[in-house]
Structure formats: C-alpha cells, structure tokens
Symmetry: C2
Subunit: 240 residues, 2 copies
DNA sequence: TACCAGACTTGATTCAGGTCAATGTGATGG
DNA sequence: CCATCACATTGACCTGAATCAAGTCTGGTA
C-alpha cells in the first residue's frame, strides 16, 4: 500500500468506479479490491489529447472510467479510420501484440484507469476468472468488428449513417426503438465521417436528407431526435 | 476413451496435427494430449459447404487442420463481406457471444477439429494457460481487424488489391519482399472482391493494370508472381 | 476434336460519393 | 454587440468504382 493511501482509500477507489459495475473488474470480489487498486492507477486525459500511440510498445491496458475516447488507425498520408468510440466501462488495449494496433485520444476529456501488463498478469494469475473475462471482452469486440467490416465494405452511405444512429441508440441504458429517441452525438462530424468511412460533407448531406424525410429532427449539432427509429433501423440493415 | 480408439491413437491424432504446432493446442503438454483429443472431434467439410451459420447458437470452437475456409457476414439482400480467410492452425469461433457473429464455409475442402464449448471449458479449467492462449489469439485477430477496417474504410481499390497481395505473401513461411514472390490464390475473384469490398470487375481490372505496369505477372488465374513486391507494398500503404 | 458451362476479362456507360468552393451558424471574447 | 473562429451545411462539379454488356479463356466431357 502506498504512502498516500490508506487501504480504505484504495478499496473505495475501485468500489465506486464504473469499471466495477461494467468492466472486467467485476470478476474480482469486494474483499480483494485493494489488490486490484494496487495494480492500477488513475489518470485524466484532456480533450483531444492522445494516450495510446499506434505502433508504440503495448505496455498497458486501460479502462475508461469517465468521459469518452476515440480509437483509430492512420495511413501514412493522414487518412484516418476511427475504429471505435469507447465510454465508461470499456476495456482498451486487447488489440495489440507487442505494439498497439491503434491510437487513442480523449473526446471531450476522459478519465482512465491504467493497468500495466505486468500487474495485469499478476492479477490473472491470482484471479483466473479475470483471464476468462478478458477473453469475453475480446470476443464481444470481435463480434462488433465483424459488423463494422460489413458496414465499411458493403453498405451505402445512407445505410452507414442509419447504422451509426441506431448504434448510438443501443448505447443508451434502455434501448427502445418503438418510440422517438433523443440522442446526444458528442463527436464532431469529422469523427463520424472517419468512423463510417465517408466525408463530412456526405454525413452532413445524409443527415439533412433524413431530416427532410422526417426520419429525424436536428435540434442542435450534437442533439438529434430519431422520429422513426424503426424505419431508420430498416435502412441500416439495407432493407429499405 | 472411446471404443474406436486406443489411447495411443487418440494421442497421435493430436500429436501430428498442425494445430499442435500452430494453434492454441500448443499450450498443452505432450503427456496430456489424450485429454485434449477426448474433448475434440475431427470433421471434413466439402468445397463450398458451410459449417458455421451466422446467427446460429455458438456451441463450438474450431481449429482448421487442413485446407482453407472463408469467414463472412451477410446483409439481408445478399451482399456479402468476407471477413477473413483461414488455413491450417487458425482458431475459429471467438467472434461470438451466444450466437456466431459470422458464417464460415470451406474453400476447396477443409478438415477441422471441433471443440464443443463445454469441453473447451473443462480444458481451460484444467490448463489455465490455454485460456491465456485463447486471449492471445483473440488479440491477434483484433489487431488484424483494425488494419482491415482501415482498408475497407479508407483505401482506394488499387491500394486494397496491393494490400491483399502483400497479405498473401506474409502467409508464406519465409516472407521476403526483396525478391519476386510466387503466390497461389486459391479463392475465386468473387471471394477476393467480397474480401476487399470491391466488385470482381474492379479486382480484375486492377490485376490487369498491375500486369501492364510489370508489377506482377499472371501465369494462370490462381498463380500470380509479384515481380516488384516492395513497390506493391508501397502502393498498399497508400504511399505510391 | 468440338462443345459447353462457369469463371474471368475487357469495354462502355452511369452514378454515388468525393472534391472544391461558398455560405451559414453558434460559441467565445474584446 | 459585434468580430472572430471553428465547425457544419449546401451547392456545383468531378471521378473512381459500380453496373451493364460483350467477349474470352479454361477445363471437363462426349
């Protein structure tokens, strides 16, 4: 235990963390939380600041404990593919062997919990269930990526934007497509475009088209209401 | 031990399998091979036959022990995205929660080793290292998918085809881009197109263009020689 | 040897989405 | 309250890849 924390402090840090509810940390018993806390450290990242460099040696895992981050890969000439957005509870760093396969930066400020690989290994040795939980996390991510590859390889711009809107719905606590849904889109259009493999102009045009078709209403740049979520979902699946 | 196999048989089945060298099975000691064999069963799949149905309950893992398979997802109207090709040693089935996130079928005939989830769980309980190995496998796959998303979202047709050719090189035993490389492309153009998010016409045209530019020579439909692998690699990275 | 079917290539044309260029909007600070 | 700046929208035009439509090649078979 460090000089700056009593065991109580350390225990509490993990006990009240979103990761405790949502992430891999749930596989550790209350009584062992101090061990978990001792292998991890908190950090905050300011808006737009990068905390994982693509290609850098992969030394840490991260859990997003607050705010949002974006994950991306770059081509040498600067073209960017955003491979995902992550928020509270999301586990980061599995897509890496010796070096990270992606970069990551905060989207409007984020807090993270960092687990050095060595510490994580001590944890998995002590709590075998954690290793299983990590694999589950990787599996979930793999399944998502299958869908995203289909989006990028085979869907039209309209279908991509519709899929994005529906995805956002499903990140809400009670996803329900049978009634209008209010969405907050915290990322700029550039990020949406780079996530969907489109340009900002195309994203903008399609949102405008959806508005004209009364599928959505745009209350402000970040605040969109899906008026007919089920129709949008149909478009998203390419069945329109 | 079953009626049809002596323990020796069972042991040998795993001992001489490519999975033993290349796949997750390498995390189990020689002396325990019989246990591994007892939790798995061999199967062969004829060319074009499907053995994983997208959306079906995920009950098994598979190791490719011979031949090749293709993995894909479908849209309701039949558009297809091939998410990967797998050959000897490849572990399949991690991209699934309760149901498979992808379909799989043999490409020119394949042999597989099937591990029911229940049996795999018994194995991971007995051999904790195996669970770690599964996670590594998932991480490797995740890293590959990052690159594939960038290809599908941000690369031009020319860059995609070049990337595909270079990827094929790297599947050879001694990848070396400093000299001409002979490649065998066992998949039809349709599969290449569905893998790259293009049409067969575009794939065909670009291969023809590469031929005209003396970057490759096409000895037969399946047999291509990369004359200037490093130039192709440069194109693949978008730096041409 | 000729025929056929399926896979591939090539060419002509179209079109979805990109590019380039204004214009609009809304938050911040003087 | 206006100027500024970054971001978003809209419009005109262009282009890379899709689509549509012939050919061509290959291997199997009779």
């Amino acid at each position: 235990m460090s000089a700056s924390h009593t065991p109580e402090d350390v225990h509490d840090r993990c006990a009240h963390c979103v990761g405790r509810r949502l992430s891999v940390c749930s596989s550790i018993d209350d009584c062992d939380l101090a061990i978990l806390a001792n292998e991890s450290s908190r950090m905050t990242v300011a808006d737009g600041r990068s905390f994982i460099e693509e290609g850098a040696p992969a030394n840490d895992f991260f859990v997003v404990t607050g705010g949002r981050v974006k994950l991306f890969t770059l081509l040498p000439d600067g073209r960017r593919q955003i491979t995902g957005f992550a928020e509270g509870g999301h586990f980061l760093g599995l897509a890496a062997s010796t070096s990270y396969a992606f970069g990551a930066e905060a989207l409007g400020g984020a807090t993270l919990c960092r687990f050095p690989h060595a510490g994580m290994q001590r944890l998995t040795e002590r709590f075998p269930n954690l290793e299983h939980r990590l694999r589950e996390e990787a599996s979930r991510e793999l399944a998502l990526m299958q869908a995203r590859m289909t989006l990028l390889g085979r869907k039209t711009a309209r279908e991509r934007v519709a899929t994005f809107l529906i995805e956002r719905c499903q990140h809400l606590e009670k996803p329900d497509l049978s009634h209008p849904v209010e969405l907050d889109l915290p990322m700029p259009r550039t990020d949406i475009a780079d996530y969907l493999g489109l340009t900002i102009e195309t994203v903008s045009r399609i949102l405008s088209a959806f508005k004209k078709e009364k599928l959505i209403s745009i209350r402000s740049i970040t605040h969109i209401t899906l008026l007919m979520p089920e129709r949008i979902s149909t478009i998203a699946e390419g069945m329109e």
